[in-house]
């Protein structure tokens, strides 16, 4: 396994932390603005990319 999988694990956690922060800013109704939706998309994309690397590195 390449150490990239470890770094990508942190990257995914950090991206999800940004999402957590977004929840904090929009609670309790979670009415996301367009800018916030864009941020959600960015986070999800980042996490997906990390997961792909982790999967490739650990299960290959």
């Amino acid at each position: 396994m390449n150490e990239r999988a470890v770094y990508e694990t942190f990257e995914a956690l950090f991206a999800l932390t940004d999402l957590r922060q977004l929840f904090r800013e929009t609670k309790p109704l979670f009415n996301f603005s367009e800018k916030q939706r864009e941020e959600v998309r960015r986070v999800l994309e980042r996490v997906r990319r990390s997961l792909e690397t982790i999967e490739k590195e650990t299960l290959k």
Partner: protein
């Protein structure tokens, strides 16, 4: 519901609810601090690159030394140490200055840990009475100094006054008090537990010899964390290093600071403080908007017949003491859930942090809420009032 492990439930109240708890608001972590907790949670994580002289505030990677310098500048002071909570800041100063029987002047709204710090050192507190607006003034502080002088035949050793108190969130005349302290030649400790990290605080401009802050109350940091800042004049005394020598081994630990008991905030706590610091520096510039928001909320809150605000108004802090004896408590008297009906209603609207079951005198804090959340909060209180037939103007 998710669990961290057996019996430790997940805490997601900051993500799911508007939390108006009086002491939790400004200690909520920034995203950066949460990331620091993830990466630096291991016990001695900040010790990876601890090189000579082997002291926390000298570590360069992560840049803890640089943080200390910047933090001192941020507070307008010369030297700073991070400590495990504001209380350890009080204790450090009191231990360094006060001997058995010495008098320390505190506010009538002083936090209990100020009392304990004085007691540990063998001193005695003398409280400055409040004026009619629940504020500590310079004049009353001077009178108390004179009273203590008459009583003991000597001047108090320290004056320790809260910038904003924990009961009303009122602002006290710290500049005037600092002036009085100077006139008498008594060192002045500014308790900034509710101001350092949320609003601009410059210790030297105020005239303080010591500034104490709370990481977990007002600096978006995990508990326990705090700040003790001082001037060149006092730094050598409060941050004095050990002179002890082991009688068998001859060992010395020269660089270690006695009052700090060596290193203080090792690991995630210091790194989280550092990670929040850029946000802190920015957010203190927007204190006016926080005040605007709390005053908006107060106006909405006071539209409910019977509601009162016990803190000074207009508000100068987001921590506010309110009284709902004439409104929600009237409902509680006949409700089967008694005062808990109010908590139930708030929780149903995703609001937590009130003192559960209390419908008379209680405190709330609006710090950090967005305008949308502030408006939601005001409307939620009014909605509950209307539901129970309490008139809303």
């Amino acid at each position: 519901m998710s669990e961290i492990c057996d019996d430790i439930e997940l805490r997601a109240r900051e993500e799911l609810f508007i939390n108006i708890h009086p002491i939790q608001a400004a200690g909520r972590l920034t995203a950066e601090a949460m990331k620091a907790m993830i990466a630096y949670g291991d016990g001695y994580s900040t010790c990876d690159w601890c090189l000579a002289p082997f002291r926390l505030d000298k570590i360069k990677r992560p840049p803890i030394e640089e943080f200390h310098v910047e933090l001192a500048n941020f507070l307008g002071m010369d030297a700073v140490r991070v400590v495990p909570g504001a209380r350890r800041g009080f204790q450090t100063v009191v231990n360094s200055l006060v001997e058995k029987g010495d008098v320390v002047i505190v506010s009538s709204l002083a936090h209990y840990t100020e009392f304990l710090a004085v007691e540990v050192a063998g001193g005695v507190v003398r409280e400055v009475p409040l004026n009619e607006g629940n504020v500590v003034t310079a004049e009353k502080t001077a009178s108390k100094i004179e009273e203590a002088k008459r009583e003991t035949g000597r001047l108090p050793k320290l004056i320790m006054i809260d910038h904003f108190d924990y009961q009303f969130g009122n602002e006290h005349d710290v500049r005037g008090i600092a002036k009085v302290a100077k006139e008498y030649g008594i060192p002045f400790l500014l308790n900034g537990a509710y101001s350092v990290g949320v609003m601009p605080v410059n210790g030297k401009e105020i005239g303080a010899d010591f500034v104490v802050g709370s990481g977990h109350k007002s600096f978006a940091s995990p508990a326990p964390s705090g700040i003790l800042a001082t001037t060149e004049e006092w730094a050598d005394r409060v941050f004095r290093t050990t002179e002890m020598v082991g009688d068998v081994t001859g060992r010395r630990f020269g660089v270690k600071e006695v009052e700090m008991l060596g290193c203080t905030l090792m690991g995630a706590n210091i790194v989280a403080m550092m990670a929040s610091f850029p946000t802190i520096r920015e957010r203190v510039k927007h204190w006016d908007e926080e005040i605007e928001k709390v005053n908006y909320f107060v106006r909405e809150f006071l539209r409910i017949e019977g509601n009162q605000v016990d803190s000074e108004t207009p508000r100068r802090h987001t921590l506010t003491k309110v009284d709902t004896t004439g409104s929600f408590d009237r409902v509680a008297r006949t409700h089967k859930r008694r005062g808990y009906f109010f908590s139930d209603e708030l929780k149903a609207r995703k609001i937590v942090g009130e003192f559960a079951g209390s419908t008379r005198s209680w405190k709330l804090n609006t710090y950090g809420l967005t305008w949308e959340q502030i408006k939601y909060l005001g409307e939620a209180f009014q909605e509950i009032a209307r539901k129970y037939g309490i008139p809303v103007a």
